[in-house]
Amino acid sequence: MPRRRVFNPLTELLAAALLVVLVLVVNTWQFSLAVLVAAVVPGVLFSGKPRQIALAIAVTAGPLLVSSFLLHGLFFPEGTTVLAEWGPARVTAEGLQFAALTGLRLAVFTGVLLTAALTVSIPELVSTLTHRGWNRRLVFVVGSAVGLLPHVAERSRQITRAQQARGLVVGGSVPSRVRGLLMVSVPLVTGLLIDAAERTQLLEARGFSSPGPRTSYLPDTDTAGQRTARWLMAAGVLGFACAWYAVGAGR
């Protein structure tokens, strides 16, 4: 079931970004853990697609967490409290602590941003950016890149299948892999470039490079209240960061 959208995408993305900044400013494992439990977990659960988001977070942050613990748990030359030792590898208390701190920070970083990004509707974000008067070249590049992504994946799948039907064998020795990569990427890139050339002419014919105001076909979902809230949130985090560092310096 899709989640009923409450806030504008811009507001949600900004809130996520500011939360990450807060975590970095405070930088204690207790606060990171609290944000993880109090913000990320409920956010994922109520997102409307908890399994998809949880999977994305696990796939993105999981390997990094494991490798972080392996790396700093086993190899931390600065560590002094040695817990175990095998040859060049030494498990140190400091290394494990470092791994836990960076690991939690990483988990919050990916969790917060991915939850916000995966629930955002890109068309709504693009239309908001248009309504707010952002650079339309930027809006075009962002919207078009996101729209192209599934197209590129689908097309490379089709080309791979077509080449396999002609006798391409995926895998094997390195030269054969490189040849396989070229057999797929040359038609892919050529096709995309020809599409791009056509799109250039279509855009020019519709006055893409002309100055003047633009009309978005999607209604503006942004409100004055949210605009104020965004400024207030940003100012609040900035103020908090200044106060935090001032107190930290005073101590």
Binding site: V26, L64, S67, L71, V186, D195
Partner: protein, 270 residues
């Protein structure tokens, strides 16, 4: 070929040099600060402030660069950018999930840089990581490094490093060394140098010898990035030469600086 049908051809606006200069200065200052001031701090294991500085310096610098470059690009370069971004993300995501020691996430950036020039390449690199950040937040802080790769790749193409296929890997090696140097503090201060399984083995090896985290990450970056860019530049050179002439002819950058050897569509473009 791409003359507007509704309006008289307007000259592309000049790049906003001030914005570009401030962006580049911010990135350079962030890098110098991280390398010169912070190595003492990371030994204690805490790097919240340096993470924050990394994030703001590199992301803000990248944003300023993009803001300065975008108004100056022609429509054909602009249409090419989403293509490069989509290629970067699609291929980079695959390489990352295969656990390779290299990333392959700059093929699109280098392709755009070769076809449309250094400015378009830099903007593609920065925006590519910003958009990839929507699916994989870990790519976000590397935006400045990606912009540098695009800029250097375009410059290499402008001065003829793609005119011979055997020169492209050499250019890739040099660009990769710069890219690795810039990416290392990001990896060290944001993520504790943890990366994919492949890159991690390298960091672990350098750490086992007793290097500090930044030094180990820099050595890993120098190793992975040079090999990665060598492969990427070679692939892009092969790709560019395999393109049909009709596709090449739409890029004035290719013609003006004779980026690729041979006739490069000059007969059609004139």
């Amino acid at each position: 070929m791409s003359s507007p049908l509704t309006l008289p051809a307007t000259k592309a606006a000049r790049p906003r040099t001030a914005l570009v200069a401030v962006g580049a200065a911010l990135i350079a200052a962030t890098y110098l600060y991280l390398v010169l001031v912070q190595p003492a701090e990371i030994a204690e294991g805490i790097g919240g402030t340096s993470s924050l500085i990394t994030l703001f310096g590199f992301l803000g610098g990248g944003a300023l660069l993009v803001a300065g470059i975008l108004p100056s690009l022609s429509t054909s370069s602009l249409v090419l950018m989403p293509l490069g971004i989509a290629l970067n993300i699609a291929i980079g995501q695959t390489a990352g999930s295969l656990g390779l020691q290299i990333y392959l996430d700059a093929i699109g950036t280098v392709l755009v840089a070769v076809l449309a020039g250094p400015a378009a390449g830099a903007a593609t690199g920065a925006l590519s990581n910003a958009i990839w950040g929507l699916f994989n937040p870990l790519a976000l802080p590397f935006a400045a490094g990606a912009a540098l790769i695009g800029l250097l790749a375009g410059t290499a193409a402008r001065y003829g490093m793609f005119r011979r296929v055997y020169l492209a890997p050499v250019a890739g090696l040099v660009v990769g060394a710069f890219g690795g140097l810039v990416a290392a503090p990001v990896a060290a201060f944001m993520f504790g140098a943890a990366g994919t399984v492949g890159t991690n083995a390298l960091v672990a090896a350098f750490r086992a010898v007793g290097d500090s985290l930044l030094v180990a990450a820099t050595k890993q970056g120098l190793t992975s990035d040079t090999i990665d860019k060598l492969v990427v530049f070679t692939l892009v050179a092969l790709l560019a030469y395999a393109l049909p002439r009709r596709s090449r002819a739409q890029f004035p950058f290719l013609r003006r600086y004779r980026v690729l050897a041979g006739r490069t569509g000059s007969a059609i473009g004139r």
